[in-house]
Amino acid sequence: METALPEIENPPADAGTAAGAANGAAPEPAELVSKVLVIETDACALAAIRDFCDANGLQGHKVHPLNVPAVLRSRIDLGAVFVGAELQGAVTDGLALARDIAWLRPELPLFLRMDGMPEAEAEAAAIALQREPSVVRYTLAEIDALKAEVDRKLFDRVYPTSLVRTLGEMTQSALGSQFKGMQVRLDPPYVVRDRLIHGELFTLIPMETPWCRGFMTLQTDAGSLRRAVVAGRTAFSAEESADFRNLNAILGELTNLVWGAFRNRFGTEGASGSFGVQVPIIVNHLHRYISFGTESPQLCFKCQLWSPEDPEATAITIYQRFAFSLSWAPELYRESEALLSGFVESGELELF
């Protein structure tokens, strides 16, 4: 089947991210994208969905119907799923697949293409899917009408370009200070609807300014972090790599550095503080799932580090997510005037 959509045959070892740069003047909304799965067997539908994705900030990844469960298990960060109700030649029924996905990952918007279904079946499916609020039915003839749904479900939150760029810069700086001699690269920022937890190590810290309240998480796997310690790339010696607490401490200090840089850059004056509204954060360890109590898409960075001498053996991937779940008022966003007027560089001693 000819299509320009990249295909996911098997769960990739590393969940990729979307493209899209965050450049431009401060008031501009950042150009963010989101990765979507496309489960289709029809060439015309694939072409139309590809065009739709290209035009609407979506990075489509085609997946064979039989590989869907494995791909979902592989913990790829996703924004939505496109699925055809009629999958030609596939063992799996598209409608059944849609119901399974809606049950497994109800947080993901699911765009279900109804072309070619007998009317009676389509009506029965519509009734059955009424209980699935994440499912949006469409036909190719009206695919452009999905834009409003995509905007509402994925891009309803404005992230100022300068904010996104600054978050990336402060993260890159913190990573560079904690991992000596390692190369650092941040993939372009993206948004997700998923609530997945990557790896075994996870930090969580409140992020509060007058214009936002929420949390930042850093997530990674212990094995790659341990290898960085063994290779002498951190503050710990190789012998200290066996103690999991040291791995915790590395991610903890990294979190602290980004949090501190965020506070210094954006200020905290006027933030509602710990007495403001709170909602429970729910973690399900079995499903490696976290909910911040909001349906809003999260802003994500995928950070990759490696040693130039042995890039594969020393690779670390850190997933950074910002869930401004408690309040978000980008119209009030501003950088701290203290920073703009200039103050001491990090690392320098300011004597009183």
């Binding site: 700086s173 913190a174 200070s177 904690q178 951190t234 503050a235 710990f236 200290e240 607490r245 040291n246 401490a249 590395i250 903890g252 200090e253 602290n256 550095l257 949090w259 501190g260 840089a261 506070r263 210094n264 200020g267 905290t268 203290a338 103050f343 001491v344 560089e345 990090s346 690392g347 320098e348 001693l349 300011e350 004597l351 009183f352």
Partner: protein, 121 residues
Amino acid sequence: MANVLVVDDSSTVRNEVGNFLGSNGFQVALAVDGHDGLAKLRQDSGIKLVVCDVNMPNMDGLTMVERVRSELGNHKVNIVMLTTESSPAMKERGKAAGVKGWIVKPFNGAAVLGSFQKLAA
């Protein structure tokens, strides 16, 4: 007997700063929070320089500094804050408590070694 005390709840920072100072001829003691720092200062009168974080559990760094000056009556020890905080209000509180200097993390040993050597002399 130590001449420098590093107070930070992060073992990453204690290791990084402690190892750097140790390899540059300092005798280093470590403390995990303000309570621990206060106890170490009480036990060891040879400490000339304290490198201290601000945000720590149990007792924060600025409270520790205030208690070093008031409770211990130790006005000689030089205290430098090593922290992610850089707000003018926080620095003012530090200055009022008798903090000698302020470093915004991350730690850059080469940039501060000369000053530390003078402050620990």
